[in-house]
Structure formats: structure tokens, C-alpha cells
């Protein structure tokens, strides 16, 4: 009886801790003019990197800079700036690194094209191998029959 009560207490405490942990990423309340604007805000803050904690985006980060940059994004949205303008604003200040989705430009051609080139090379190797093997298969029946007779 006593033990079960103790367990319930422990479980309740655990629950309290998890609930607290889930509410951790504090976001300042923001007012939007429309649902579309709010969606754009969410999209943008997810695609922009928080530079203080470089593997988090603006939406996830609780760093001071992330707070300020979220406010900046919000302000620019309300002022009627387009998504591209907002991204441009960030890139002008923090460089391409601020974008989680790298733009296709001269210094990122390798990044964007490499997978396709590798896929092509892979396909070539596969083709050569298949040809080799089918050629081998055509010539093997004799060999296998030879082996069997041995």
C-alpha cells in the first residue's frame, strides 16, 4: 500500500518534470495580421539558422540573438517584406551560412550537383558490372558442366 503510493508520487513528479521540459522553448507572443503571415513566419524561422547555437534554427533557439532575429523577422513581415527580402536581410548580415537551404550559386554548384554526378557514376559502374556478368553467364554453362563432370 505504502509502496504503491510512493510509486504514484514518483510518477507524478516525473510527469511534472516532462511537462515542464516540454514548455521550455519560450516564444514571445506575437500578433499576426493573418494566418498566412503566421505560416510564413514559422516557415522562415525554421529555415534560418541561429548563429549562436549553430545547429538550431531560429524557431527552436532560446538564445538572445534568436529572440532578436525572430522579432526582426516578425517586424519585417508586418511591414510587408517578402520572404526573399527577409532572407536577403539576413544573408547581407550573416552570410549564406544563415540559410539552412543553401542557394544554387557558383560556390554551391558542387554541393547541388555532386549527388547527381555520383548517381550517374554509380549507374555507369552498375551497367558495366551487369554487362560483364551477363557475358560471364553466357560463357559459364560449359564451365559448370565441366565442373560437374570433374
Amino acid at each position: 500500500m505504502k509502496l504503491s503510493k510512493f510509486f504514484i508520487l514518483v510518477l507524478t513528479l516525473c510527469l511534472a518534470v516532462t511537462v515542464h521540459a516540454q514548455s521550455a522553448p519560450v516564444q514571445e507572443p506575437m500578433v499576426f495580421e493573418s494566418q498566412l503571415q503566421e505560416d510564413r513566419f514559422k516557415q522562415l524561422t525554421q529555415e534560418l539558422r541561429c548563429l549562436v547555437c549553430q545547429n538550431q534554427n531560429l524557431a527552436d533557439s532560446d538564445a538572445q540573438l534568436a529572440h532578436d532575429l525572430r522579432a526582426e523577422v516578425h517586424e519585417m513581415l508586418i511591414a510587408g517584406n517578402s520572404d526573399d527580402e527577409i532572407k536577403q536581410f539576413m544573408v547581407e548580415r550573416y552570410g549564406d551560412f544563415v540559410l539552412y537551404r543553401p542557394p544554387v550559386q557558383q560556390n554551391t554548384y558542387l554541393l547541388w550537383l555532386a549527388p547527381m554526378v555520383l548517381l550517374f557514376i554509380g549507374a555507369l559502374i552498375l551497367r558495366v558490372n551487369i554487362k560483364k556478368r551477363s557475358a560471364l553467364l553466357e560463357s559459364t554453362p560449359d564451365e559448370t558442366s565441366e565442373n560437374k563432370t570433374e
Partner: protein, 178 residues
């Protein structure tokens, strides 16, 4: 024979890529600023300790100057403080302290306690100007030439080595050029 060498070569290539990647990752902490060779962002800020007076980027035109972002809350700023002090002692370049996201009282107490190496400190209370400078860590230091163009940026703690190899030669060049 060939079938053994090919995977081995592939593995060697992966190892090389990994090493190169790690070497590049080392440099990632010091990202190149997109502001290099660009005009210094516009600012017009109150002078720390003398709020009735303001200073803008326009009024600083005509001489090279250093912009050093600092705050009393910033531990690394305290660590680099002796280097800035030493640089100030040389009187080689005008040093603007950008006191950002800080309470003026705290900032003034900090300067009083550790000494004030800055020719002037400006108050960027809400960090607006620091965003325009693309500051994401403190301290950060920018060297601006007489025409108001950013020629060098250092992210993080300033060391005497950087002062000697990066800042002073550039300042000397500007002085001789003008």
C-alpha cells in the same frame, strides 16, 4: 586483385574527405563576414556616459577606426580587455567601443573597474546596430577605413597576435595611403 584494390581506394578516398572536412570544420567557427569590403552599417548612437551627445558613422569618416562590440555581461570581453588596453596605449587607431545589449550603469561600472581603453563608447541598448553588423558573438571587432568601408573583422577574443598581424599593418597601410 582489382576487386580488392577498388574498395580499398574507395575507403582511402573517404578517409581523405573526412580529414578535409574536419579541417574545414575548424574554420567554421570563424566564418567570413559578408560585410568585408562593404560600407559600415549606418548608426547614430548615444555616447555612453554622456547620453545627450550622439555619434554617427558619418562623423567618423576620414580616419581609420576600430569598432569593438562589448558588454559588461560578456566574459570573453573581460578576457580580451588587456589586449584592447595595450592597443589603445599605442595610440595607433581610434577605438570605438560598441556597448551592446547592456545597461549603461553596468557598462560604466565595468569600465571604471577594469579601465577604459575606448576613445568613445556608444550605447546600442537593444542590439539593433549589432544585428546590422551581423554580430552573433561577443566580442567582435571590425576595422573600418577612412572611407567608411569595413576591411577586416575578427570574431571572438582579440589576441595580440591578431593585432600585430592583421590590424596594425592594415592601419599603417591606410595612414601611408592617405
Amino acid at each position: 586483385m582489382n576487386s580488392r584494390i577498388v574498395p580499398l581506394l574507395g575507403f582511402a578516398l573517404l578517409v581523405v574527405l573526412l580529414v578535409v572536412g574536419l579541417k574545414i570544420a575548424d574554420r567554421k567557427t570563424n566564418l567570413p563576414s559578408p560585410l568585408i569590403d562593404k560600407p559600415v552599417p549606418a548608426f547614430d548612437l548615444q555616447v555612453l556616459g554622456n547620453p545627450s551627445q550622439k555619434m554617427s558613422n558619418e562623423s567618423l569618416l576620414g580616419k581609420p577606426y576600430l569598432v569593438n562590440f562589448w558588454g559588461s555581461w560578456c566574459v570573453t570581453c573581460r578576457a580580451e580587455h588587456p589586449v584592447v588596453t595595450e592597443l589603445a596605449r599605442l595610440n595607433a587607431v581610434y577605438i570605438v567601443g560598441m556597448n551592446f545589449r547592456d545597461e549603461s550603469d553596468d557598462a560604466l561600472a565595468w569600465l571604471k573597474r577594469w579601465g577604459n581603453p575606448y576613445d568613445v563608447s556608444l550605447t546600442d541598448f537593444d542590439g539593433r546596430v549589432s544585428i546590422d553588423f551581423g554580430v552573433y558573438a561577443a566580442p567582435e571587432t571590425f576595422l573600418v577605413d577612412p572611407s567608411g568601408t569595413i576591411v577586416f573583422k575578427h570574431l571572438g577574443q582579440l589576441t595580440w597576435d591578431i593585432v600585430q598581424t592583421e590590424i596594425l599593418p592594415r592601419v599603417a597601410e591606410m595612414e601611408s595611403g592617405s
